[in-house]
Amino acid sequence: MRGPTPSQTVGPFFRFGLAWLAGRDLVAEGHPGLLRLHGVVRDGEGDPVTDAVVEIWQADPAGKFPPRSPSGWRGFGRCLTGPDGGYSFATAKPGRVDGMQAPHIDISLFARGLLQRLVTRVYFPDEGPANSSDPVLTSLPDPSRAETLVGVPDGLGLRFDMCLQGPGETVFFAW
């Protein structure tokens, strides 16, 4: 039996290979429940990470994934960060996927310098009771870092910055 193929970095020169799947909105502009999820990726010196691939994976508003969600719900988005390290998705707030977990969006982050992807989650600030009983948020070794996993509402929608290192380092997961 062969073992798993190891991960390697996405490198700096992926744009022409991965852009075709980027920039497709999960919901159309003007969708009544549109959620603009956006943010900036920063390195250990606070500089923007201008060559990252951000991918999201999430349930639909009813908590369903393809193929059980209504057709048209892809649940997946890819965005390549720009010169400001920013990313943005037009999506909808996911529903609860089971009886325990608060609504959340899973993120994969790939970049030059990352030999394997980083995985994190976005939680919602208006889900206080659900967040306070969420098994992931409540089992962090350092509870004070939970705030790095909760988006911040702003004029555009929900802001979720990712900090790869430093005092505000985002919680990243092993899976």
């Binding site: 700096p12 999430q58 790869l164 290192q165």
Partner: protein, 226 residues
């Protein structure tokens, strides 16, 4: 099986210094989100997308190669209908990317990106040219071995994998911090394709074989999802 993946913090790979997390990763208990993954349809991938040599007026320069293999899960079972994306440098070791400043020629007949869905037996096949090695500034006289980048989705969020395929017998492998970041020698060798007579075509192209085996560290997939 233990994860073969490289560490985030790899001093020999300079770019990791400011990007590798410093805090320990937190184990993520698998739930429905991690046990599922995006579905890509036949309508999103054209047959020509798997032939990287046919997208321009002329043929690209370089050694024409067939790169094929299977996408398998940890139990050796075929993973069908999943998206495979590849991208690579041209035969001179130059990427069709604005940031690549290596003074090697661009090839007007080669972009270097392809994609396909795996077949019912998990198989994929690309036609391309053998990429060249290229210099990078990681350390003095640093050269990346020839490689093709692979991105595969698998059936679940946990199976998502981005990796690189190398070529057998490349003397640069023994000096490449990215390749060597995989500590286990056997695991590292799984990144190296093998020369394959079966897919070598007379008077046309050399064949290389590269199987991708998905890990997916989720211990207990959620019942009922696939």
């Amino acid at each position: 099986m233990a994860s073969p993946d490289p560490p985030y913090d790899e001093p020999a790979y300079r770019s990791s210094a400011l990007r590798a997390p410093r805090r320990p990763l937190v184990p993520l208990p698998g739930g429905p989100t991690e046990a599922s993954g995006p579905v890509f349809g036949e309508d999103e991938v054209e047959p020509g997308d798997a032939d990287l040599t046919c997208h321009h007026e002329g043929e690209p320069l370089g050694q024409r190669i067939n790169v094929s293999g299977r996408l398998l899960d940890g139990d050796g079972r075929a993973v069908a209908g999943q998206l495979v994306e590849i991208w690579q440098a041209n035969a001179a070791g130059r990427y069709a990317h604005e940031v690549d400043q290596h003074p090697a020629p661009l090839d007007p007949n080669f972009t270097g990106a392809g994609r396909c869905l795996t077949g019912p037996d998990g198989s994929y096949r690309f036609v391309t040219i053998k990429p060249g090695a290229y210099p990078w500034r990681n350390h003095p006289n640093a050269w990346r071995p020839a490689h093709i980048h692979f991105s595969v989705f698998g059936r679940a969020f946990t199976e998502r994998l981005v990796t690189q395929m190398y070529f057998p017998g490349d003397p640069l492998l023994a000096h490449d911090p990215i390749y060597l970041s995989v500590r286990d020698e056997q695991a590292r060798e799984r990144l190296v394709s093998s020369f394959d007579w079966q897919t070598t075509e007379e008077e046309w192209a050399l064949g290389y074989r590269f199987d991708v085996v998905l890990g997916g560290h989720l211990a207990t997939p959620v019942e009922g999802l696939r």
